[in-house]
């Protein structure tokens, strides 16, 4: 079936099975390779995107759920000023190692800070609990989110 939605502000129409994974549509049909597949079952968050402002794991989201919706992936988000702040904070804090989980963590950080601009450490850890990282041990990512929250200062 034909499914329309916007991705990073651009309207798109795709021809897809309604139960096709949003992840595959984004990666294969639309060539958005910043969305990664780490587990394929909604556990690791490497494929996280914002759908109508809410964070979802695109590997367990059927593309039909995106119909008429707005999707923001790392490719769109990285053009924004808020991204620049978060990216800088990840770099300064040591939140990036192999990088495979990083776009997902960046999207989770944005989702968290939109909802709660001054999260406590515990709220950050909860906010990131849908994303797995095998390299960093999380402490430096938590520091990155704290630093981004301070720089954004309630924005």
């Amino acid at each position: 079936m034909r499914i329309s939605f916007t991705v990073n502000g651009n309207p798109v129409v795709v021809e897809a099975e309604p139960l096709a994974r949003l992840l595959d549509v984004l990666r294969i049909d639309l060539g958005l390779h910043g969305v990664k597949e780490g587990c394929g079952e909604g556990e690791c968050g490497a494929c996280a995107v914002l759908l109508n402002g809410r964070i979802v794991n695109s590997c367990v989201t059927p593309v039909a759920a995106a119909a008429d919706g707005e999707i923001l992936t790392i490719e769109g988000f990285c053009e924004t000023d808020r991204y620049a702040v978060i990216e800088q904070a990840f770099s300064d804090s040591g939140g990036v190692q192999c990088g495979f989980c990083t776009p997902g963590f960046v999207m989770a950080t944005e989702a968290l800070l939109r909802e709660n601009s001054k999260p406590s450490e515990d709220e950050i850890r909860r906010g990131l609990s849908g994303n797995l990282c095998r390299c960093t041990g999380y402490n430096m990512i938590v520091q990155a989110v704290q630093a981004a929250s301070e720089t954004l200062n309630g924005q």
């Binding site: 390779h33 910043g34 969305v35 990664k36 597949e37 780490g38 587990c39 394929g40 079952e41 556990e43 690791c44 490497a46 992936t73 790392i74 490719e75 990285c78 991204y83 978060i86 990216e87 990840f90 770099s91 300064d92 040591g94 990036v96 190692q97 192999c98 990088g99 495979f100 989980c101 990083t102 776009p103 960046v106 950050i124 850890r125 909860r126 990131l128 609990s129 994303n131 797995l132 990282c133 095998r134 390299c135 960093t136 041990g137 999380y138 402490n139 430096m140 990512i141 938590v142």
Partner: protein, 718 residues
């Protein structure tokens, strides 16, 4: 802090954050076919017949009959067949692959393949091997070391025995869970083939392809793609996948790509060796351990792979960081019908340290002493002999490292308080002391690896780093560039590092064994010094300089008897971990880790501390939740939902302090850091549980089921 240690922004960070780093599956390879594997469903069986369905146009099968060279995955020996001919040896062993344009069609075709087997009796794990009358071993070592009379432990009593303890420790398998699953692609151009993928060791893959294809080395090109984590898991297994895609690309004449999904990655890739370690020690009346007899058995899985060298490293750590005058060590790697076990951060050492650290705790308890105090009385010092009769030439700073974490953690106040506490919720605090030999064991660097690096200086001031070591998340790209830039006194932006391509870079060895900074970084430092004095061969022409590995003059090693300096240098670590657990769920909640490390000089503090944090998190997972169970030869955990690695809520606050102890053989004094952080947490957690519950720990992972059982059987948690 040394100037070079000051942290700089990682050069790969912006691309990775923006999602612009191209991992293998992100690369656009025009016309690439997909490949998928047909896996054995039997742990040990003869293959009587394989029947494949009629294939539509554009689809091909590839199996052992398509191998032009030798049917072997080149590692230490050629015992691991790339595809089976007439026998399968484990559940998950790839029998053949189908390549074609559409993955869904390939999956339908694979489902229609019938394999007729004749089942044979399998051997499952160490338990299984021990019940067989004469279990098959890949290697069987018996070593005896008498260190009495060596410089150092002159105060050891020779007789006057107080007690002996003999006990056995079990450690489980561990899966790497690099976030990017294994991935590889290949294509042919003219008479050459290019293979690219998520790899640690471009030249291991290159050599493996020479073996499988039977071609001259110069027809084969291996290029590392951006690698999303590895931890040892992309040391050995990529040589397997590279063979598959190369054969498929050779047969079809088209590019072929093979990306494992997570379930298949967990099912068929190599893992950390499970171990069973029996330690028997005698302690004299003065409270000093006199002898240790260690029996180390590891499950090697179906093919030998790297098992012999993993076992050697485990054996050389059998007495931990302690002075024990008489040590005998035997080691066996069993052949079983399980996925071959392989390299994983620590490489045998975490298994040995878990056992030896817990054993020291138990000796202390029997002697009536706090474990840390007992351990401190046995600590090795500078000038002491190592277990293999080598010499600890460099300063050992463990005492000051222990003091720093003791103060920070308030261990001395907390330990007795927690030991006496009662109630449903308990706290515990535990310590581990450990080290890690940097680089290859023995003379491996000199005799096997023979590392070579090059630097190419251009007229515009740019300097290219040419080595085969990879950035896989650990920060090598930034660290190696920093060493060269600092040596030359140029901005880091002038130093270029690209993912290694065997057409461009010399073989500086694999990215393993905590050797990249100390050994390869050392060679780049030497090359950079040469480059300073080198002159261009002509106007505008680049200058090339080379550096080759030289074994430090003081190192003596006899590979036939395993005696001498097993490692040129050691990094050292102390962990204190505080935990909470309740007697209803028996789930361990790590609260805080205090860690002190001597890794020589940190080339970049933030990168080093990042390695330490990540290693500690993996060690916590290894010690607590990362359970792999084998039933009928198959791992029961096949997803990231049932194989549980630590998340942001499970990983505690980690405080790290680095003790400066520059090593003369490393660049700017650097030693290795990659592996050592994983070693500390399991025994520190075990000690913390013993503190909280008053039980004796003999296995990891410390699952709630295990803790509940030993509290019941040992009468703990009073």
């Amino acid at each position: 802090m040394s100037t070079i240690s000051r942290s700089i922004p990682r050069t790969d960070s912006p691309q990775k954050s923006a999602g612009r780093a191209n991992y293998l599956d992100d690369m656009r390879i025009a016309g690439a076919l997909h490949a998928r594997l047909l896996l054995s469903t039997r742990p040990r069986a003869r293959i009587l017949r394989v029947e494949t369905p009629a294939l539509p146009d554009g689809y091909v099968t590839v199996d052992h009959s398509d191998i032009p060279g030798t049917n072997a995955v080149r590692m230490i020996n050629d015992g691991w067949p790339l595809f089976p001919v007439d026998m399968v040896e484990y559940v998950g062993q790839p029998i053949l692959l189908i390549a074609g344009p559409d993955v869904a069609v390939i999956d339908e075709l694979l489902a229609a393949v019938t394999v007729e087997y004749e089942d044979l009796t399998p051997v499952f794990g160490i338990d299984g091997a021990e019940t067989v009358e004469d279990p098959e071993c890949f290697v069987d070592y018996h070593l005896e070391y008498h260190l009495e009379g060596a410089p150092g432990p002159t105060d050891q009593p020779s007789g006057d025995l107080a007690f002996t303890i003999t006990e056995t420790f079990d450690t489980g398998a561990q899966e790497h869970i690099y976030l990017e699953p294994q991935a590889m692609a290949a294509w042919c151009e003219g008479h050459r083939i290019t293979v690219t993928g998520s790899i640690q060791c471009p030249y291991y893959v290159h050599k493996a392809l020479v073996t499988v294809l039977g071609w001259d080395a110069d027809r084969i090109r291996v290029v590392q793609a951006t690698t999303g984590g590895a931890f040892g898991g992309k040391e050995d297994f990529p040589s397997v996948l590279a063979g598959y895609v190369a054969l498929a690309a050779h047969k079809t004449g088209q590019p072929v790509k093979l990306v494992l999904d997570r379930g298949q990655d967990i099912e068929i890739s190599t893992k950390r060796h499970p171990s069973r370690i029996t330690l028997a020690s005698s302690v004299g009346r003065s409270g000093l351990a006199q002898s240790t007899c260690a029996d180390i058995r590891i499950d090697g899985g179906a093919f030998e792979g790297l098992s012999s060298t993993v076992l050697q490293r485990a054996m050389f750590n059998a007495s931990g960081v302690y002075r024990i005058p008489e040590i005998s060590v035997q080691g066996q790697a069993y052949r079983t019908n399980i996925v071959p076990y392989g390299a994983f951060r620590g490489f045998g050492s975490p298994q040995a340290f878990f056992a030896s650290e817990m054993h020291m705790c138990h000796l202390a308890r029997k002697h009536g002493e706090d474990p840390l105090s007992f351990k401190r009385r046995h600590l090795v010092r500078q000038g002491d002999r190592t277990i293999t009769g080598g010499t600890l030439r460099d300063p050992v700073k463990m005492e000051e490292m222990i003091d720093s974490v003791l103060t920070q953690s308030e261990y001395n106040r907390k330990r007795p308080e927690y030991e006496r506490a009662t109630g449903i919720t308990r706290r515990g605090i535990g310590v581990s002391l450990f080290n890690h030999g940097c680089g290859f064991t023995g003379s491996g660097e000199r005799d096997i690896i023979k590392a070579r690096v090059k630097l190419r200086g251009h007229a515009d001031g740019k300097v290219e780093v040419l080595c085969s070591n990879v950035e896989m998340g650990q920060g090598a790209e930034t660290t190696l560039r920093k060493i060269v830039a600092e040596t030359l006194g140029v901005p880091i932006g002038n130093v270029v590092f690209q993912n290694p391509d065997t057409d461009q870079v010399p073989d500086s060895g694999p990215t393993v064994a905590s050797r990249t900074v100390m050994v390869v970084g050392g060679l780049l430092h030497t090359a950079a010094l040469k480059l300073k004095d080198a002159t261009s061969p002509g106007p505008g022409q680049p200058v090339e300089v080379e550096a080759n590995y030289q074994q430090p003059a003081e190192i003596e090693w006899d590979q036939s008897t395993f005696t001498g300096d097993a490692y040129p240098a050691f990094s050292w670590g102390v962990n204190i971990i505080e935990i909470e657990l309740d007697l209803l769920t028996y789930a361990i909640r790590p609260l805080t880790v205090w860690a002190s490390f001597d890794i020589g000089t940190a080339i970049d503090e933030r990168i080093v501390i990042g390695q330490i944090h990540g290693g500690i998190a993996q060690g916590i997972g290894y010690g607590t939740t990362e359970l792999l169970e084998v039933r009928d030869g198959a791992f029961q955990q096949r997803t990231m939902t049932d194989y549980v690695i630590p998340g942001s809520l499970d990983t505690p606050e980690i405080h790290v302090n680095l003790v400066s102890n520059p090593y003369h053989g490393g660049p700017f004094g650097a030693k290795g850091v990659g592996e050592i952080p994983l070693t500390g947490p399991p025994p520190a957690l075990g000690d913390a549980v013993e503190c909280a519950l008053g039980v004796e720990i003999h296995q990891i992972p410390l699952t709630p089921e295990y803790l509940e059982r030993i509290v019941r059987t040992q009468g703990g948690a009073q």
